[in-house]
């Protein structure tokens, strides 16, 4: 008897995940893409006939300064965040891979913020920026820090920097442990040989540590890129998108990153179809950028 191509166990073991996958990913994804071409609204039901309106929702996005602003802001935020997190976490990793007495304690301490959700951390830092920082200013004799118009979260630029600070603080410990694992994997002989040859610490960094941890960089750059681009939780609780500012002649929210822009368009402005079209653009950009990033990094790794 010929053996079945797909034995019963194949389907029995796959069925639960296929079910969950279809229920929460495949169907909503396809519905979502379809809705972005229709006049779908919050009150519309699944069975109702939606009117196909072609690219109208997409055309509206192009004319909307708040989306353009959020898009640019997210790009800027992502770049700064990637640089800040990776520089901070690589430096921390270099530090805690030395033979320090308390290195395990330091590692754990740097990692702790990563255990707490971005939403809660955002509230903590809102308090730090709005209450603790002015108070530190007063203690240092810098009265201007305490003035309402000088609050960090009161201006778009400084509030954006605040977002970068908080996400760097939250994420650095996690990225650090990846670098630590990579650095500890470097053969000790290599470093000793370089030391005997009299290579300076800086030269050892560029000639040994950085090239030998290339693979870790592929992972960390990808992780920080994707997570920065999708930032939502800290944005909600730290700035809620504020403060208000002007862009292209229109009042908009000064620190509203893309994920929050999509959310607000759908739920605050009750424009589900518009929010959905934005989400499709978001998805396409994210996919494209991830593919480019991974392929560049893979290429570099092979060249080495």
């Amino acid at each position: 008897m010929k053996k079945a191509k797909h034995p019963a166990i194949f389907w029995i073991f796959l069925l639960p995940v296929l079910f969950a996958f279809s229920l929460v990913i495949v169907v909503p994804f396809l519905l979502g893409v379809w809705y972005s071409f229709t006049n779908w609204s919050a009150t519309a039901r699944l069975g109702e006939t939606l009117r196909f309106i072609g690219l109208e929702n997409y055309a509206k996005i192009l004319k909307d300064p708040s989306f353009a602003y959020s898009f640019l802001l997210t790009v800027v935020y992502t770049i700064f965040n990637m640089v800040a997190i990776n520089v901070a976490s690589f430096s921390l990793a270099m530090l805690v891979t030395r033979s320090l007495k308390g290195k395990n304690v330091y590692r754990a301490g740097f990692f702790v913020p990563n255990l707490i959700g971005g939403l809660i951390l955002g509230y903590v830092w809102q308090f730090v920026f709005n209450n603790a920082v002015p108070s530190i200013g007063t203690a240092l004799g810098l009265a201007s820090w305490a003035q309402a118009e000088n609050l960090v979260l009161g201006k778009s630029v400084s509030a954006l920097i605040a977002l970068v600070i908080v996400s760097t603080w939250q994420y650095a410990g996690y990225i650090m442990v990846i670098y630590v694992a990579a650095i500890e994997n470097i053969p000790q002989e290599l470093i000793e040989a370089a030391q005997i040859d009299g290579a300076s610490p800086l030269r050892r960094l560029f000639a040994i540590t950085l090239p030998m941890t290339r693979q870790a960089f592929t992972i960390t750059l990808f992780l920080t890129l994707v997570n920065s681009f999708k930032q939502f939780d800290v944005n909600v609780s730290l700035t809620a998108g504020g403060p208000a500012t002007m862009f292209a002649g229109q009042p908009i929210l000064g620190t509203q990153l893309l994920a929050l822009n999509i959310y607000n368009q759908g739920f605050r402005s009750n424009d589900m179809a518009g929010g959905q079209a934005r989400a499709v653009v978001f998805f396409l950009v994210l996919t494209l950028v991830s593919i480019i990033q991974v392929s560049i990094n893979k290429k570099r790794e092979i060249e080495l």
Binding site: P16, V17, L23, I25, G102, F110, V112, W169
Partner: protein, 285 residues
């Protein structure tokens, strides 16, 4: 040699400074959770005049109808643990049949799962709500504001990455192990659960840690599926619900935050080694 030693001392000092700076925001939370509102206005950096106030504040949060700490904590535990159990069982068994069945369909399904990892939550969140509501209308099965709905959502959103990790590991397990079991008369499901499943321990740990931290802290999915202030709340929902209702009442918000952080920090103190190892292994896969 002498120079090297003093260098190490400098690095040790730097590490201590950074360590304190990193944990400083948590200290701010702790001291302000033990204050009365006027003390915070006076100086948010000082130590509280009376540490005992922290108990009164905890009592307020414990009984707050916006937080419902006990119930929110239990819901968070229930949602996280059930999602994790299902994710580990279902993803590992799926990964196993996907590795061991070498057909076009099998590899097609695997590629589909892997490709789905790039799908951001934002693109499915609006239709997910409509779709869940519609399922309730047609079948009567409630997925919104229910444990079933949020758990199945976590399985759906977490399975791709989990299957991917199990898949990578199972590929390296020699087939001979299973063949011996089959000759001994094991049924396929027995082969998997008796022979393979125990070997997967390190990957189970990774899948538990990665998904556990994500699910426990997640905000957006519970916000949409469960909603704020409804029957079921998770800890992040409860904190945000409270912060929204008691704007600028920082003494109590800080207490709520402190209470939200304690369980996971305690867990970390006990399982630190496994958690960090799991996170690293998960990122490298």
């Amino acid at each position: 040699m002498k120079q090297k030693k003093s260098g190490l001392v400098a690095f040790e000092a730097l590490a201590v400074v950074l360590f304190v700076a990193f944990l400083f925001p948590f200290l701010i939370v702790l001291v302000n959770a033990a204050k009365a509102p006027f003390e915070i206005t006076q100086n948010p950096l000082s130590f509280p005049t009376e540490w005992g106030k922290i108990l009164a504040n905890i009592g307020t949060i414990w009984t707050s109808s916006n937080v419902r700490y006990g119930s929110s904590f239990l819901s968070s535990v229930l949602i996280t643990s059930l999602s994790l159990i299902f994710l580990n069982l279902l993803s590992s068994q799926a990964a196993w049949v996907l590795v061991r069945t070498k057909t076009k369909l099998s590899s097609g399904i695997f590629i589909l799962f892997v490709a789905a990892m790039v799908i951001p939550f934002q693109i499915v969140m609006f239709p997910l709500l409509t779709w869940f509501r519609e399922i309730a209308n047609v079948t009567g099965i409630r997925l919104l504001r229910s444990y079933a709905g949020i758990i199945v959502a976590y399985i759906g959103f977490g399975m791709s990455q989990s299957i991917f990790m199990f898949h990578g590991f199972i590929k390296s397990i020699p087939l001979e192990l299973e063949e011996a079991a089959i000759i001994d008369g094991c049924k396929p499901w027995e082969t998997f659960y008796k022979i393979i499943f125990p070997i997967l321990k390190p990957i189970h740990a990774t899948v538990l840690v990665l998904n556990g931290i994500w699910i426990w802290n997640d905000y957006l999915l519970p916000l949409l599926v469960l909603g704020k202030g409804n029957r079921i709340m998770t800890i992040p929902l409860a904190v945000s619900n409270f912060a929204g209702a008691y704007v600028k009442q920082w003494d109590l918000i800080m207490t709520a935050i402190l209470m939200a952080m304690i369980p996971i920090v305690v867990l970390f103190l006990f399982a630190q080694k496994y958690i960090i190892k799991g996170m690293v292994a998960g990122s490298i896969k």
